[in-house]
Structures are given as structure tokens and as C-alpha cells.
């Protein structure tokens, strides 16, 4: 039982990690570098700043902070669900 539990915890954890990494890559490499010209022309400007440029200098950093908050909260729930909580 203990072993199985560790395994399902690990799989759930891996899924969460990969999802977060996909968002991470999209906001940084995607919006701010690779698709930046497209983002600049097709997305609404932030104030007077084109979207892609704003993502590169401000938006991506804000997203990163949210990613880590989501990670900490979800992992705490996951630990609790599988009985690994230490709080």
C-alpha cells in the first residue's frame, strides 16, 4: 500500500510539473521571443506598450510568481491526499 501510494503521488506530481513547465515555456519563450512579432500585432496593447514587449519585460515575471504559488498550493494538497503531509 505504502509503495503504491508513493507511485501515484509521483505520477500526480509529474503531471503537475509538466503542466506548469508548459505554461512557463509559453509565457517566456513563446509570447516573449518566438511569437513576439505576432503577439505585438494581434494582441491588445498593455497601456501604450505592445503585448509581446510587455510580456518580455513585465508580464512573464508576474506569471512566474503565480506559477510558484500554484505549485506550492497544489503540492501541499497532493501531499495531504497521499498522506505525506508534515504540517
Amino acid at each position: 500500500m505504502e509503495k503504491n501510494n508513493a507511485r501515484s503521488h509521483r505520477i500526480a506530481c509529474l503531471k503537475l510539473t509538466l503542466t506548469l513547465l508548459a505554461v512557463w515555456a509559453f509565457v517566456s519563450f513563446g509570447c516573449s521571443i518566438l511569437f513576439r512579432p505576432w503577439m505585438d500585432t494581434n494582441m491588445p496593447a498593455i497601456g501604450s506598450v505592445p503585448f509581446g514587449f510587455w510580456m518580455a519585460q513585465q508580464g512573464s515575471i508576474i506569471c512566474f510568481v503565480f506559477l510558484l504559488i500554484v505549485y506550492a498550493v497544489c503540492m501541499r494538497r497532493l501531499d495531504g491526499k497521499h498522506g505525506f503531509s508534515e504540517e
Binding site: R10, L21, F29, S48, Q58, F64, M75, E86, E87
Partner: protein
């Protein structure tokens, strides 16, 4: 009271604060010396990590680099914060569970080999050395400004202070001192930004001013449009375009991100909290604190660019503002009157002087090339300065009150001290603990270990000071970028494989590390020190971004060699299973 006296008072007060804290929380055991006993709260550890993390390069040089590079400067913003995400979700929770305090310790145990440990120590020493060099340069810039001396003498003064400071407290002392240092840095960085934002955009929050209108020139125009126009008029690339290819930008950003996730002195920080859940919480706080400064940096960069140009370009030398002389005296800004008209003219790479003496901006680099200009005509720029001084010159340009400037000086020194102290601790323990005690001379007593640690930190500071005086590259941020390339090509892939694959053998890991860092180092040395031609760049990737390729090489070599080598022993495989279970990490082991 004049500016210099105020500077001394603020720096003196901040030093008294740090020393007081360090003495009060002195380490009472070796365990406290290395990991602060594992009992630091997530919030305090988050702040301390942010201070450790925010080096002199970030603090002093980043905004200036963004001011000059425009969009291209975003690579530092995204690279350093994005790397923290990798670090948090791929590395530290697992390493904390593993429970040994240094990265070579993990690599040595996971890959069950002294050779792997030895290679890891070498990589750690290389990485920390490169990083400290950048710090020493930063310290030099600050002290030269403070005392009005040459940068070289500034570096020496700084090195002495760092040496005495770092030897004092051990990890516990450093942690609590860094909390204080973060506070000094955050205020020092943001307060001038508030003043400047009000002056230029009428909005006191710099981030809102940045996306708003420029109002200082009478008529309101969108701020970035104003910047683009200024840049174009003087012959620079548009601010929002920058001058970097997409491939290079991509690779440098990736190298910075992965390098961040492999930084030994940041990983060590997370051993100071009590369990894996606290590690995750602490990382959230760290990134939040880092973001406060990183969201302000691009605004400072943009504001200072507008200020610098409007206050110096086209102005008679005698009428130049008073602060210009301050930076001229220390050799950090220079005016060379090429056409002897007594007027400061600042121009970019596209500008040239026509035969009638007027300044013209070419439509493109090729168009300028086609004109076959003489050397003097091709570069009419008369104002030179390094990006390293932008943050320090910025408040003077914007007429910020003297106390805020003094606070900024204290902040710069805090940034350099906190990072240098953390790095020296890692560097000296790598040598004394991982190299001497675990590999060369197992019978070393605790006392001898500490002596060796002191010797190691003295030698490395001396080397770092030498390179701080004769920097291998022009800007602090760039020197540090190399260090991230080295970390990205060595530690990041090896740690990642070590954590997530239980079948990776020692042969694979060692071969990967050696090939990865060897390739990256070779490429950097060839193009940076042996005058390799930029046209020979592999896929057009500059040495700053080559760590990304080095990392891929590391991965590929590891997996290929792994196919031909025996699987790791059962207990190592069990250990890898264990580090994925978050509970039961217990206290961080001392050595």
C-alpha cells in the same frame, strides 16, 4: 550636509546593522555554520535567498544593460526569474529531501563515485569563481564612486571588506544579515524609481508610468514611442526591437534559465528551512521578493535612457550638469570632442558624419557600409560610458534627494556583499569539505577543515580581485552570463538526470558533465579571449548563449554513455525513489 558625508553615514549605519546581526546570530556548531541548523522560517529564508541571488550584477548593471539593449535586455529579466521556476519545481524539493548540504555531495552519492564528486567540485569552483569576478567588478564600481578613486583601487578596497565580512558568521549569521540586506536593497532600488516616474510620467508607480505617457516635454506622448524616436534620431536600433537575433536571444535566455537552476550557492540556501513543504513556500517568497526588483529594473532602464540623452546630448560641455563631472573624475564617463565644437554629441551605430560636418543617420547597417566612410566619419559618438554606472548616475540625473542617493550606495554595497559572502562560503566548503576531506585527506579534523576553508576563500578572492581589475568582458552582467552558461552545461543536466532517472550510471553522468562544461568553456575562451571572429559563431550563437548547446551535449553524451555502462547499484536506485517522497526529510545533515 554634502553628498559624500551622507553616503558615509548611510553606509556606516548599514554596516553597523549587518555586523550587529552577524555577531548576535553567530554559529555555535559546524552544523549551524553550514546550514544554519535548518530552522529558518520560510519568509526569512525567502528574503535572504533573494539577497543572495540579487548580485551586484543584477543590482548595478542590469538596468543599464536594459537601457542600452532595449528589448534585447529582456533576456536577463526572463532568464534569471524564469530559471527560478525551474529551480523550484525540478530541483530543490528533491535535493532538500536528500538532505546533504552541498551539490557535490549529492552528485558524489547519487553517482556513487569519487570521480563524479571531484568533477562536481571542479565545476562548482569554476562557476563560483566566474561569479565572484563579476561581483568584485561591481564592488569596485561602487567604491570608486564612493571615494572618488579609480576602479582598480575600488576593487582592492572592496575585496578586503568582503574577506573580513565573509569570514565572520557562517550560514546562520549570513542568513539573518541577508534579510537586512534585502530590505536595504529593495528600498534603495525602488525609491529613486518613484521620484523619476513622477518627474517623467506623472505617475508615481514606475510600472504604470512605463506603460503610460511621457509628460516632461510638455505634450504627452506614449513613453515607449518617445524612447523609440529618441533612439532612432541618434542612430540606435528602436528600443522595442533591440539588436539581437531571435536564435541568440532564445539561447541566451535558455542558458540563463538553466544556469540559474544549477547554481550551487542558491541551492544550498534551501537547506536552511525545516522540510520540503517549507522549501516550496520559501521559494514562493524568494521569487516574490526578486520580482519587486525585477519589475522595477526595466522601468529604471527606460527612464534613465531618456534622462541621460535629454541632459547630455547636444549640450555644451561647460553647461553639462554637475553630476557629469563626478563620473568623469572616476573615469566611468568620458567626453571626447571629436569635431572640437564644445558640444556633447551622443550617437549610435547607424549615425555618421557627412562631409559637410553634419550628423546623418543611415537607413540600415548595409547602407552605411556602402558609403565607405573613414574611421572618424563612421563613429561620430563623443560620449562614452559603461552600462554599469547607469543605476548610480540615474538618481543624479533625476534630481532625487541626497538621502535617497546615499541609500542607493548602501544598497549597491549590500548587493555585492551578500552575494560574495554566500559564494565564498560555497566555494571554500567545496574545497575544504568536498575536495580535501571527502577525496584527498579523509582524516582531516574540523579545525583543519576550517583553516583550509579560510585559505581557499583568500586565494579565490585574490584571483577574483585580479579579474575584477582586468575584466575579461566589458560589462558585469556579461561576465556573470558566462557563469550561467557554465552552470547550465554542467550541473543542471546532471542534477536533473540524477533526480528523475534512477538508471543513469556514474559513467554517463561524468562523461556528460565533462563534455558539457568542456565544450562551453572552450567556446567562451576561444571567442572571448583568443579573439575568435564573431562570424564563425556556431549557428550565430554568441558565447553568452552557448551554454544551451553545452547542456544538450551533456544530455546526449550522458544517455549514450549510459547505454554502454552497467546500471547503478540497488541502494542508489532506492535512494532516487526515496527523494521523490516529500515527507521525512528531517533536519539537514551536517557533514
Amino acid at each position: 550636509m554634502d553628498q559624500d558625508t551622507l553616503n558615509y553615514i548611510f553606509i556606516g549605519l548599514s554596516f553597523a546593522l549587518y555586523i550587529g546581526i552577524a555577531l548576535k546570530s553567530r554559529a555555535s556548531s559546524t552544523k549551524e555554520y553550514y546550514t544554519a541548523g535548518g530552522g529558518v522560517s520560510p519568509l526569512a529564508n525567502g528574503m535572504a535567498t533573494a539577497a543572495d541571488w540579487m548580485s551586484a550584477a543584477t543590482f548595478i548593471s542590469m538596468a543599464g544593460t536594459i537601457a542600452i539593449g532595449g528589448y534585447a535586455g529582456s533576456r536577463f529579466l526572463m532568464g534569471w526569474t524564469g530559471g527560478f521556476v525551474l529551480l523550484t519545481i525540478l530541483m530543490v524539493p528533491y535535493l532538500r529531501k536528500f538532505g546533504k548540504a552541498t551539490v557535490p555531495d549529492f552528485i558524489g552519492d547519487r553517482f556513487y563515485s569519487k570521480l563524479a564528486r571531484f568533477v562536481a567540485v571542479l565545476c562548482a569552483v569554476f562557476i563560483c569563481m566566474t561569479y565572484i569576478m563579476g561581483q568584485m567588478r561591481g564592488v569596485g564600481v561602487v567604491f570608486s564612486q564612493l571615494f572618488g578613486i579609480e576602479i582598480g583601487s575600488g576593487v582592492i578596497v572592496g575585496a578586503l571588506i568582503v574577506f573580513f565580512y565573509a569570514g565572520m558568521g557562517g550560514m546562520k549569521g549570513i542568513t539573518y544579515t541577508q534579510v537586512a540586506q534585502y530590505c536595504v536593497m529593495a528600498f534603495a532600488y525602488t525609491i529613486p524609481a518613484f521620484y523619476i516616474a513622477i518627474a517623467l510620467t506623472g505617475n508615481f508607480i514606475p510600472q504604470l508610468g512605463f506603460i503610460g505617457d511621457y509628460i516632461a516635454g510638455g505634450e504627452a506622448t506614449p513613453f515607449l514611442e518617445k524612447l523609440n524616436n529618441i533612439n532612432q534620431e541618434l542612430g540606435f536600433a528602436r528600443y522595442t526591437d533591440g539588436s539581437m537575433t531571435m536564435v541568440d536571444m532564445f539561447c541566451i535566455t535558455a542558458a540563463l534559465m538553466c544556469g540559474t537552476a544549477g547554481l550551487p550557492h542558491v541551492i544550498v540556501r534551501f537547506f536552511t528551512v525545516k522540510n520540503v513543504q517549507a522549501v516550496r513556500k520559501s521559494a514562493c517568497w524568494t521569487l516574490t521578493f526578486i520580482a519587486v526588483i525585477y519589475l522595477t529594473a526595466p522601468t529604471i532602464g527606460a527612464f534613465s535612457r531618456v534622462n541621460l540623452i535629454s541632459q547630455l546630448n547636444g549640450i555644451k560641455y561647460e553647461d553639462a550638469p554637475e553630476w557629469f563631472a563626478r563620473f568623469e573624475k572616476t573615469g566611468q564617463m568620458a567626453f571626447e570632442d571629436k569635431n572640437s565644437d564644445g558640444i556633447i554629441q551622443y550617437t549610435g551605430p547607424l549615425a555618421y558624419r557627412a562631409s559637410d560636418g553634419s550628423l546623418v543617420v543611415a537607413s540600415s547597417a548595409d547602407a552605411k557600409e556602402a558609403l565607405k566612410l573613414s574611421k572618424d566619419e563612421a563613429n561620430p559618438n563623443e560620449l562614452s560610458f559603461g552600462p554599469d554606472i547607469m543605476v548610480m548616475a540615474n538618481p543624479y540625473m533625476a534630481d532625487v534627494p541626497p538621502w535617497a542617493i546615499a541609500l542607493l550606495m548602501a544598497g549597491c554595497i549590500a548587493a555585492a556583499l551578500s552575494t560574495a559572502a554566500g559564494l565564498l562560503l560555497v566555494l571554500s566548503t567545496s574545497v575544504s569539505h568536498d575536495l580535501l576531506k571527502k577525496i584527498i585527506k579523509p582524516g582531516l579534523t574540523d579545525k583543519e577543515e576550517v583553516t583550509w576553508a579560510r585559505i581557499a576563500s583568500f586565494v579565490s578572492l585574490a584571483v577574483a580581485a585580479y579579474f575584477g581589475i582586468n575584466p575579461p568582458s566589458a560589462f558585469i552582467a556579461k561576465t556573470v552570463a558566462f557563469e550561467f552558461g557554465l552552470a547550465a552545461s554542467s550541473f543542471f543536466p546532471t542534477l536533473l538526470i540524477g533526480i528523475f532517472s534512477k538508471t543513469m550510471s556514474r559513467e554517463g553522468a561524468i562523461a556528460g558533465m565533462v563534455c558539457g562544461i568542456g565544450f562551453t568553456l572552450g567556446y567562451i575562451v576561444y571567442f572571448q579571449f583568443m579573439e575568435g571572429d564573431a562570424r564563425d559563431y556556431l549557428f550565430g550563437i554568441s558565447p553568452e548563449g552557448i551554454g544551451t548547446i553545452g547542456m544538450l551535449i551533456n544530455f546526449v553524451v550522458s544517455f549514450v554513455v549510459n547505454m554502454f555502462s552497467p546500471a547503478p547499484p540497488a541502494e542508489v536506485q532506492q535512494m532516487v525513489e526515496d527523494i521523490h517522497i516529500p515527507s521525512g526529510s528531517g533536519e539537514a545533515a551536517s557533514h
